[in-house]
Subunit: 491 residues, 2 copies
């Protein structure tokens, strides 16, 4: 199965693409830039969705659904927003096809032209704030805490499976509040939830921070983000939470009567994570043999592979395996007993390695005699023979250990790959030779950031929320700076 | 809250529209034909989704995701299919906007015209079968049992909330099989699952049957359906399951090597239910006071309303209510304690009646003294005073009773409204005066069905799967017929 998976050290980018395809996660479709998420990949996404959805609901949010289409004029109502999205959007202009003259195909019916073109949503602030106008009259209607699971389309020119696709799946939260303070609190709460999800479930350590002006969401006053580091030393933005101020409330005239009877504009936030998280999950942990999945997001946590030559062995092993499968399921551990006759154990081992199943149990005739199984960890490749008696709690413990160990590896890697520099020379050298996050002083101007980007391809990933006050000089302009920011090349 | 809800007997259609809006289920958006599904409505849809998804997975299906866009040429590959969908579809022709000359808005950039137009999926057979071509080579790759939860767009000219909207949410299963028999078995399995879901969860009795040629899915060999009856005597198609034969396999050249090494076309099915089910759920059970929800799909199953005058009463009631809430939650019963200070009990009663909460508990000072509560059923409006001691199991029993009772009411209604007729005169009279399902002989021709439709607006809802062989004469043509079919006016 893993045949032909390139080594990370030789071609990281090719390794990623091939892994996504060979592990049955996703593939390119015939529609430019749109992917097909295959069942195995989708089952990981479903686990992410379920967990995030629970976290959103625990914090008082409800799901709703808004139209796929946005009237063209709505996009224009918030100046920065239209600037950010108009250049790469799918435009619906007609609502009917008709048979062409030779009767062999269909053509667009010119008589079925829309009066106003519709944009396939690249994000839903405009259509949602236009709706909120009708939902919000009084402080009693606030806060509005709504989330939507949906597909969105951004006409990206260069696409890569999961990381950047023309259509992608995501969730977008859109909330409305009576006060600035409450909206900021919400924005921060959601970036904290994303960080908790990334660290506790994806086993991906992330830096929480603010985006610089250049990287801010089109229409936001402030963008909070979480940034993770991939194994090739490039950063990946894994989630964003935007404080929108009153920008969209003003653009769509959303006002409320406050408790003391004044009419005021509502304060807003929006926040989202997407199928891009799948890319982060894959790139953060996997190796040259295939996926390494954190147990909490693995659709199959344990696979049981029988090893036998004779039919009576097969049946005896199946009996033990099915009993084990049942007792693990009772502990809410997801198990697959791979009893396919069409493939040899070696093939199965490679396949489940490729697909990142955290624990593999092999059972052979000698195991039956001894009351043991062979237990193999996907992440460390350690194998051991353990007694089948009481194995359920051994497996529970192992799964927790793997979850923790994957996280710690990623954290150690990030720590090694985070470098403080105090000169531009050093900055360029680190980026060139080592990669990773570079912590440096910056004068706070978009111009400096832009120049550094042009010269090195590195951007400011974030101004970490926990950055300490520290007097220093901008590595590029020499102007004074009072905190370090994190630069990196990024996905 | 319920103020202004029209009576069903006076204007059923208006009653429905107002109920959908007033109960916070959905509303029309500014985008033609597209609705906003509000949080309360969406939470019912989520309960439906979760249950259906579990049923699909229990029968071996996996979820996946395919592109929103379908290249125009793909639609044309199956002749009947394009005929069915080309006339009402959203067409993407451009991928960019640019600023207009006066700088005030944005216009479509004529230079960003797509080489081939993309259709927003009205259903995904074409894009999915085009993908299956790469997934299926050998009998070992079969069956493919895939489902997708997605939005689809059909440019309907006359739309109604949930029942017929330009964009709607649905699931679409698409399976591929090695044999005709297996594909038919799958088609039947899925219509049985839909029927089970409708009856056991929606409390909606349905007739399982086959569609006549006129009503068949565009591209199917045979369409199975479930049909429910609404309170106004009109039928509603609640789900369909299509046996596609080899139509799409041939159109997209999907072949497999069989066990004896021959290359054969694959056999297919597709099946779907949509947010239309919300419309069926609302119309089947609700009354002039508002929604009546079956407990298994009610987002809130029990609401507790405190009744007090003094603050110390309030606190004492809250203590009891919170304790009760907790013990009900432990039994997986969803409870809302409505302790809002901003509204009076009468208002709350009306609001939760409107929203269809199956059981209401009211607790007042006298209840505290007596260790009782008032328990009110939404469906029958029966009230009784019950001891708070052991009330959890009383509530469990009541919820089951309500579920069953709603179903039985709907079943009795349908039985009353199903009439056997043997002449066209009688047929028209029943349709006119009584409505409902009319069971009649039909000669099996599309022409007769079409004429009856033109003259009476009734169509053949289905040829019931359990229809008995019975010699008879077509009510319209007098030609021989060997079984009765079900006619009705329909949504």
């Amino acid at each position: 199965m893993a045949k032909g998976l390139p080594k990370r050290s030789e071609d990281y980018s090719l390794w990623y693409n091939e892994l996504v395809k060979k592990a049955d996660l996703a593939e390119n479709s015939d529609v430019r830039g749109c992917m097909v998420i295959k069942p195995y990949g989708y089952s990981i996404w479903e686990k992410m969705q379920r967990q995030l959805d629970d976290m959103f609901k625990e914090t008082g949010h409800q799901n709703a659904y808004f139209p796929l289409f946005i009237p063209k004029s709505y996009l224009s109502k918030e100046a920065a927003h239209v600037e950010g999205f108009a250049k790469e959007c799918a435009v619906v202009t007609h609502y009917r096809l008709k048979n062409d003259e030779d009767g062999k195909g269909v053509v667009v019916d010119p008589e079925a032209k829309l009066e106003e073109e519709l944009i396939v949503r690249p994000t839903s602030e405009t259509i949602i704030w236009n709706t909120y106008k009708n939902w919000i009259q009084s402080y009693r209607d606030l806060p509005v805490l709504v989330n939507q699971w949906a597909n969105v389309v951004r006409w990206e020119m260069r696409t890569r499976l999961f990381l950047r696709t023309a259509e992608f799946l995501w969730q977008e939260g859109h909330t409305a509040h009576a006060t600035k303070e409450e909206a900021i609190k919400e924005t921060e709460q959601m970036i904290n939830i994303y960080a908790e999800f990334a660290e506790d479930f994806m086993a991906l350590p992330v830096i929480k921070g603010l985006k610089s002006e250049n990287e801010r969401f089109a229409g936001a006053v402030e963008t909070y983000c979480i940034e993770g580091l991939m194994q090739d030393g490039k950063a990946l933005q894994a989630g964003t939470s935007h404080f929108l101020g009153q920008n969209f409330a003003k653009a769509f005239d959303v006002k409320f009567a406050s408790q003391d009877g004044k009419l005021e504009h509502v304060w807003g936030t929006s926040w989202g994570v997407s199928t891009r998280l799948m890319g982060a999950l894959i790139m953060a942990h996997s190796d040259d043999e295939g996926l390494v999945l954190p147990p909490k997001l693995a659709p199959i946590q344990v696979v049981i592979v029988p090893i036998f030559k004779k039919d009576e062995e097969k049946n005896a092993i199946a009996e033990v395996a099915n009993k084990l499968k049942k007792s693990l399921k009772n502990k809410h551990i997801s198990v697959r007993f791979d009893d396919r006759d069409t493939h040899k154990p070696g093939f199965k081992f490679a396949e489940w390695e490729l697909k990142g199943v955290p624990l593999r149990i092999a059972i052979g005739p000698r195991d039956l005699e001894n009351g043991t199984v062979e237990l193999a960890r996907r992440d460390t490749k350690e194998k051991e023979t353990v007694s089948i008696e009481g194995i359920e709690s051994v497996i529970e413990t192992k799964l927790n250990e793997i979850q923790e160990s994957i996280y710690n590896n990623a954290l150690n890697f990030r720590n090694e790959k985070t470098t403080k520099v105090d000169s531009y020379e050093e900055f360029k050298k680190v980026l060139e030779e080592k990669g990773g996050f570079v912590s440096a002083h910056w004068d706070g101007t978009p111009e400096t950031e832009e120049k550094i980007k042009q010269e090195t391809k590195a951007t400011i990933r974030c101004i970490p929320l926990d950055a300490k006050e520290e007097a220093g000089k901008c590595i590029y302009s020499g102007k004074p700076s009072n905190k370090r920011v994190l630069f990196a090349k990024a996905y």
